[in-house]
């Protein structure tokens, strides 16, 4: 895992990116989760998760495969609703509004909580239409000019505009893997969510494409609250302000990223981040 690219800092170099540390690590709480249990049928996949995720920071979820970190991410925008036989206990609140309240409009929730998936999933439409999709279905704009402006703005935010501006009407499926993933980020940004959930967004990409995604995450944090699931501990160390370590469906430790990687409180966390287990 280490040394994938010469620009990757070593674990000891986790001390934040050359003085660009965020203004504040105690920004207001955006997402508050209290004693959350999650079941696939009879199987309990998450066990008593409580966590508070702060706004305009990057929070990374790390842990071995099957530890529940992706499942947990998907409870935050109720993406698990579409899987039959799943059940949730406990509470998730975004800006103090309960997410699992029966009166909550799931469509409105997902508009506020965007998501980028592990495997890039552009629609088999043109590049332009992929980004415009969220605007169209939510009726966010009917003006052609505004539509084009917002598509461009989103593509710029996702750092892919220069590469695609001359072929906006070509199929999105013709793009490379890294470009497709940045297009999916642009698509998620187009409806201007407040929170961006990223489920291993770079796991299928090469080191250079990965680096671009990471730089992008760093920039996007100014505007969005970002939660990223990653297998890659160096990536968590590089991009996040807070890190949560999951193990067998439980949240073992949650703290500032620099602390998690240099002086974790739990022995299990230390073993995992130093590669002695998992």
């Amino acid at each position: 895992m280490s040394g994938v690219s010469p620009t990757v800092p070593s674990l000891s170099g986790v001390a934040k990116r050359g003085g660009q540390s965020p203004a504040s690590l105690d920004s207001p709480v955006k997402i508050a989760v209290d004693r959350l249990n999650f079941y696939y049928g009879e199987k309990r996949a998450l066990d008593g998760i409580s966590i508070q995720i702060r706004s305009n920071l990057v929070t990374a979820f790390i842990g071995p495969s099957g530890c529940g970190k992706s499942t947990f991410l998907r409870t935050l925008n109720r993406m698990n609703d579409i899987i039959p036989g799943t059940r949730v206990e406990g509470t998730v609140e975004i800006d103090n509004q309960p997410v699992y309240d029966s009166s909550l409009d799931v469509v409105a929730l997902r508009r506020r909580v965007g998501m980028v998936f592990q495997k890039s999933n552009p629609f088999p439409k043109s590049i332009f239409e992929n980004v415009a999709y969220g605007l169209r279905i939510n009726g966010l704009t009917t003006s052609k000019v505004e539509m084009a402006d917002r598509v461009e703005e989103s593509l710029r935010q996702a750092a892919i505009w220069e590469e695609v501006k001359d072929r906006l009407h070509d199929s999105a499926l013709a793009l490379s893997g890294g470009q497709q993933q940045r297009l999916c980020i642009a698509r998620a940004l187009a409806i201007r969510p407040e929170i961006l959930l990223m489920d291993e967004p770079a796991s299928a990409l090469d080191p250079i494409a990965t680096q671009r995604i990471e730089e992008l995450i760093y920039d996007l944090r100014k505007t969005y609250t970002i939660v990223i699931v990653t297998h890659n501990m160096q990536q968590a160390a590089r991009v996040s302000d807070f890190t949560a370590f999951f193990w067998l469906g439980r949240l073992v430790e949650f703290d500032r990223t620099d602390k998690m990687f240099t002086a974790p409180a739990e022995k299990l966390t230390e073993d995992y981040v130093t590669g002695r287990c998992g």
Binding site: M79, M115, N121, I137, R187, A188
Partner: protein, 293 residues
């Protein structure tokens, strides 16, 4: 006998079995082609394809196949008007809405519809649907294009819904999740992401259904009448290509006469139409498979 000889015999036997069906098809096409060739010796191909009167069994013989083609198109169109929207909606329901347990039951039940003998559908059209429709549409003849068209639509509905559903289910789950994550409803996801992504597969299903409707025989032979006429009016008796072939085959038309050869010419035309449609359908489905390989 040595193992090698036995293997040799088995291989040849299996080859013969495979060859038999190919040869039969080739034989059918050869007979169609030969008789059509003989027919076209007596009737110019232009007159056959563009003539507007079809009276080979009357004293005043005319060999314009258009009334039969139009009759076929009329009934098939009515069938497609029923089968396409309903089949597509059923497929959307089965693929995007139905709980998986329910789908496992309902899909085979729907496919049983395709197993009902077409003669049953034919009498269903003639003795049930037509009298029923006549209560609302007094001008409807006892034989007409409307009623067999509707019933035929019902018959090919399972074909459309089943094949369309297969195509929609082959769309990766990630695309649906991408759409839901942007705040799309199920209907928006189904209509704007899943159906367009499955478009070539759904089109292939539609074309196969059209081909099936064009070739369908019993329903129209029983309920549509035997009057070749060039009309778009679904209320009056007409005759389709298939029904004409049945009519002549069942009658006492002597072999080798021009009247007898007409059925091969009509059959050849029918074969070319359905064969062309099937080719397009296969090509589309192949393209679809490549998209999500």
């Amino acid at each position: 006998m040595s193992t090698r000889t036995l293997e040799w015999i088995i291989e040849r036997l299996l080859f013969l079995c495979a060859a038999l069906s190919v040869l039969t098809t080739a034989g059918i096409i050869a007979v169609l082609a030969f008789e059509t060739y003989e027919f076209l010796h007596e009737v110019p191909v232009l007159e056959f394809l563009t003539g507007t009167e079809w009276t080979p069994l009357f004293a005043n013989q005319r060999f314009g196949v258009l009334p039969l083609v139009v009759g076929t198109m009329l009934v098939s169109s009515i069938a497609m008007v029923v089968a396409l929207p309903m089949g597509l909606l059923a497929a959307i329901y089965l693929s995007e809405y139905a709980p998986s347990g329910f789908r496992r039951i309902i899909k085979p039940v729907l496919e049983i519809l395709a197993g009902v003998p077409t003669v049953v559908y034919g009498y269903f059209a003639l003795t049930f649907v037509t009298p029923l429709l006549q209560q609302f549409l007094p001008s409807l003849s006892g034989f007409n294009a409307l009623s067999p068209g509707l019933v035929m639509g019902l018959m090919i509905l399972p074909l459309v819904s089943s094949l369309s559903e297969d195509a929609m289910r082959a769309v990766p789950r990630g695309l649906r999740e991408g759409s839901y994550a942007l705040g799309a409803t199920r209907m928006q996801t189904a209509l704007k992401v899943v159906v367009p992504a499955a478009f070539s597969g759904i089109t292939a299903a539609f074309i196969l259904a059209v081909s099936r409707a064009i070739g369908e025989t019993m329903i129209v032979a029983i309920a549509a009448g035997q009057q070749p006429r060039l009309t778009a009016n679904p209320f009056v008796p007409i005759e389709t290509m298939t029904a004409y072939i049945v009519q002549v085959s069942l009658g006492d038309t002597p072999q080798g006469t021009i009247e007898y050869r007409t059925i091969f010419a009509v059959g050849m035309l029918l074969f070319l139409m359905t064969f062309g449609l099937n080719l397009v359908s296969t090509w589309l489905r192949q393209r679809f498979r490549e998209e999500y390989a």
